[in-house]
Symmetry: C2
Subunit: 209 residues, 2 copies
């Protein structure tokens, strides 16, 4: 009986997080009202305020969800399919390309959107945005470390991993505005050119398909 | 008499644009209510709706302001002070560094903010965001063209100019979240490394100060 109540509470909480995540991603945090979250989740306001005293508490839970799902949703599938560490970097970028295309260039990177929208947020919220960036960057850093012997010795791989994030976010931003995959593809192609100059022969490691 | 009325109309319209521009930049478009714009501009709602039937019409005027002021405010001062075309590119990036620092990492690039916030906007608004990006990119493209003989012949300068915009926006985004200039500086340093590999000796052209 206690378990059944606990399960139901978990379900309601999860449903709120899932609905809020989807709405924040689609229309932004500030454009999403609590009433819409309640309606789309099919949850009463008392339940919402029981779990999340404010909309920003719900946002923090959404950011925790993204953090917990970075590996299962984004990195894991690429790392399983691709073995070459440098190709893994470009495999991760390809996921964002696919997401841009399948959403008609409307959704973009959920963390990047929040990073620019939440200028006046609580320190906890900002910290969660930074932790999401850090998790992403560290996964890329791991790829670069695994290919360390292919880069010039003076390359700062910590900084290069942040640069990959920079290029992803800047490319996604332009593709959303232009409603075209072209700016994103151009940004990735330029990053590829840079990698080719740092680690010549990178492309040779791509599987022949 | 007609001139005096025209002047007053221009003043009211300009004041609305200036107030909205500042508020949209500081707190975002969706977080800014019409009532706040009216109050801070000291304008009555009838005057607002006379010039701008909707908040989005006011946003379009703000975007036109940015477009008209790209040269006088951003590019002009750099192009006047710096003569080396590649250093002009980094001089433009330094303006964003300065803006991040002086605003405590809160404001960022106004066009980049709007690019991610306005996912569901009118085509005219999106077109104005794209035109602002294009104006910026073309100024960078001009610098790269002026230094054409220093780049490898196979470098696509059109794509490279978009890459500079990509790096600026991605770097600004991270510095805003981290509340630190470090991510922006790291992104620019990595771009500098790329430029050094494309056009060796770039740094030698910097003035000794």
């Amino acid at each position: 009986m206690v378990h059944a109540v606990e399960d139901e509470a978990r379900t309601t909480r999860d449903r709120l997080i899932e609905t809020a995540r989807e709405l924040f991603h689609r229309q932004g945090y500030n454009s999403t009202g609590v009433a819409q979250i309640l309606k789309e989740a099919g949850v009463r306001s008392g339940s919402l305020y029981y779990f999340f005293p404010s909309k920003e508490d719900l946002l923090v839970a959404v950011l925790e969800w993204y953090q917990e799902n970075l590996w299962p949703v984004v990195m894991g599938p690429v790392f399983e399919k691709v073995t070459d560490p440098i190709e893994r970097v470009f495999g991760v970028l390809a996921i964002y390309r696919e997401a841009l295309r399948t959403t008609g260039f409307t959704f973009g990177c959920p963390i990047g959107n929040l990073a620019l929208e939440m200028s006046d947020c609580r320190p906890e919220t900002r910290r969660m945005i930074v932790e999401n960036f850090e998790g992403w960057r560290l996964a890329i850093r791991k790829c670069l470390d695994d290919a360390a012997d292919r880069f010039p010795p003076d390359i700062d791989r910590e900084r290069l991993s942040a640069f990959v994030l920079t290029v992803m976010e800047g490319g996604v931003m332009q593709s959303r505005s232009y409603r075209s995959i072209e700016p994103f593809d151009a940004a990735v192609a330029q990053l590829r050119d840079y990698f080719e100059r740092l680690a010549p022969g990178t492309r040779k490691s791509e599987p022949v398909s």
